[in-house]
Symmetry: C2
């Protein structure tokens, strides 16, 4: 395999330096990172990105949901097409420095690679603009749902609804963006292709030893926010039969959701990652429990069956506990297939450069899933050690980072230099 680093020796240290530079922001003592969406810690990372972009001749634009666009004019005057490349800088609480951040860093360094290639006349881009993008609130940690910035950009979520989202302290996303100075008013060019590199967050690449995976599709997901309303009462004198215990109801639902996924004949993952209780005081029966439940599956039928079974469980639990149970919100994410023509194109390019690769489906949602709704999109994975993510143990070795960037450069060159008509993608109206 030829490495871009043979030709572009300066890139490797720049790539690792930039990644490490972001590793200064939101770092906790135990090695984890907390750069929650629109937080002061994420602002430091965003500011650093903007400085880097301006220092490298990008025009920096920020839209009303806080997405950052670094626009580089490639000088190709016969087109107004824009090639987007990026990911996100927000993290889970106590997560890692690779999830999202690596994709933004690689998008930045790829611009240097690209400019060099163009200057040497080794690439003739078919796009006018190369746009490094950092999407707002991908993680769904501080604000739910996930993929907020790319959802608003792609039209899946309205700006007004997104602005009104509140964190657990009641702060709206709009206010948080304004406080961090990322409530913009700019409009970037429309994307004609989107490329994203991300850590796999699973074990397949580590097993196969390949430097990169081409993601063919994303599993579907059903995300339900469920509210259990009981009655506050003293945990002492209140007779057991007179209690309406919202935590008991919520706990039964957590157990049932797990059983639904275990019993399913198809592959079905489920999880409750967040639960909020009130008053959450040891001597008071829990009055209110809110839980964030998800089902994920590569099969549509398994998902709809799961939701249907879960609703039956809710009725049963409501009957047993006397609590009022309701689904407060439901987000259904369809199974998404990435642009096939781009995948074929990338396969050819990777094959020609002797780069090994896997073809995978992603279980986790990514901004590329949202972008695929409005332009052909390509999602690449690089290995993550042990598949561990959303954890301080998240890790991708420098060698794997560089090998992944190598493969991305190959794919990028093939996509950006490809004739305009080669994509099978048709923009929906």
């Amino acid at each position: 395999m030829d490495s871009v680093f043979s030709d572009h020796r300066a890139l490797r240290p720049l790539l690792l330096e930039l990644l490490n530079a972001f590793g200064e922001f939101g770092k906790a003592e135990d090695g984890g990172y907390s750069r929650l969406a629109a937080s002061p810690e994420e602002k430091l990372a965003r500011d650093h990105l903007c400085e880097w972009l301006r220092a490298h001749d990008f025009a920096v634009l920020v839209d009303p949901i806080g997405n950052i666009f670094g626009v580089l004019d490639l000088g190709e005057v016969d087109t107004a097409r824009a090639f987007f490349c990026g990911s996100h800088l927000d993290s889970q609480p106590n997560g890692g420095n690779y999830d999202g951040c690596l994709g933004v860093v690689c998008a930045c360094i790829a611009a240097l690679f690209l400019k060099d290639k163009i200057d040497r006349d080794e690439i003739k881009p078919t796009f006018r603009y190369y746009v490094v993008v950092c999407w707002t609130g991908e993680e769904g940690a501080r604000f739910q749902p996930s993929l907020i910035g790319s959802s608003v950009f792609s039209g899946a979520l309205s700006l007004q609804d997104a602005w009104r989202l509140k964190d657990s302290e009641g702060v709206t996303l709009k206010d948080a963006l304004a406080a961090s100075n990322y409530l913009g008013a700019d409009s970037p060019p429309s994307p004609d292709h989107y490329l994203e590199l991300h850590i796999e967050q699973g074990p397949e690449l580590e097993k196969s030893g390949d430097p990169v995976a081409l993601v063919e599709a994303c599993w579907g997901a059903e995300k339900l926010r469920v509210l259990a309303k009981g009655k506050a009462a003293h945990t002492g004198p209140t007779p057991m039969d007179e209690r309406n215990n919202a935590l008991l109801a919520a706990s039964q639902l957590v157990v049932y959701a797990e059983e639904i996924s275990r019993r399913c004949g198809e592959t079905l993952y489920s999880s409750v990652g967040r639960m909020e209780l009130a008053p959450n005081s040891p001597n008071t029966v829990v009055e209110r429990a809110e839980l964030w439940l998800e089902f994920r599956s590569p099969g549509e039928a398994a998902l709809s069956d799961a939701v249907s079974q879960f609703k039956d469980c809710m009725s049963a639990v409501s009957g047993q506990t006397g609590c009022d149970l309701s689904i407060v919100s439901r987000e259904s994410r369809n199974i998404t297939c990435f642009d096939e023509a781009s995948i074929s194109n990338a396969e050819c390019a990777l094959g020609a450069s002797n780069t090994g690769y896997l073809k995978l489906k992603t279980v986790a949602g990514h901004d590329a899933v949202r972008l695929q709704a409005i332009c052909p999109s390509t999602l690449l994975f690089v290995p993550s050690k042990g598949g561990i993510t959303h954890s301080p143990s998240e890790y991708t070795a420098d060698e794997d980072v560089c090998a992944g960037f190598d493969a991305m450069a190959v794919v990028l060159a093939s996509l950006i230099a490809r004739p305009a008509g080669a994509s099978a993608f048709r923009r929906s109206t």
Copy 2:
């Protein structure tokens, strides 16, 4: 029935005024009260109590755990005995204004009744001091365990351990007391009798129509803080079998605890009122769940069986979920019987004044339970509407408040004028 209000007409408005005055502190919009232990809201209530005590010739003392003692010298020079009467001013989050507060208010107003009776030579007290007491942190809401101030005072909890208790923000009780200016250094007289009036927090008095209950005993309790440690991971790509989901483990424990109490042949209550999760983010498998579990029963064997069964459940759940489960702390509260001689004495006095009464056991712990370990103690209940408590719906009608005070005055007069040797209580050494 004769009412003390016939003889002491000024007392009724004073009683209701003082109760309503406390109702100004920590009031929420929906009618609930939040006066968490050593909070700014509780400080307002405590300051008001101290002002009232000083205005009525009490010497105000504050001990190192923040207990307030209003000491009134009754002028009985042949003894140094002290009669304590009081309750607590802290509340649950969004609780009511009667739980604790009513007992403090009645203790204050009873002093006026007592002085009047002594001035008229209708009572010859066998105690030198009448001490109104407000105990710190009875509720176990902001700081756990409950009954903190009376536990330290009675020797069941060391001052150092109590000072080190932390709220959910990591603030120590010592620092919170210092911040609210209730970290004192005074030593009050030793109590020779303790009397507490409290709302029943159950439905029995409302059913019987009696104004007061004499509490014979307090149920035993086992309070366990249980920690489930799993592993943070992405709720998407992480295969279900590779997850160690601390919330799943915690939820199974909540369900099992309920089953243990339902299956028990004897009366056994159980509850998990508080659960803390980390990182508590929708897309991350819960790494850490901590739960506050309690069992309560009038039978010692039922309690020890319950804890033993629960430990078996912990082993099973740990095996199923791969989570590490441990009991972080355990507080065993024995069944407590209140001083029998005092109850007999009170029965005679109530009967003589034609006051109807019930004899009950209390399920909830009260400061009187702790005091009974060091002096004969008497706990009286007055009705609480629907038995509802720890809720904004907690309510005792003014008529019931006054009828309860009437009964308390009868009991107080009988206890305070009783010859010193009449109690069956022997102080343990």
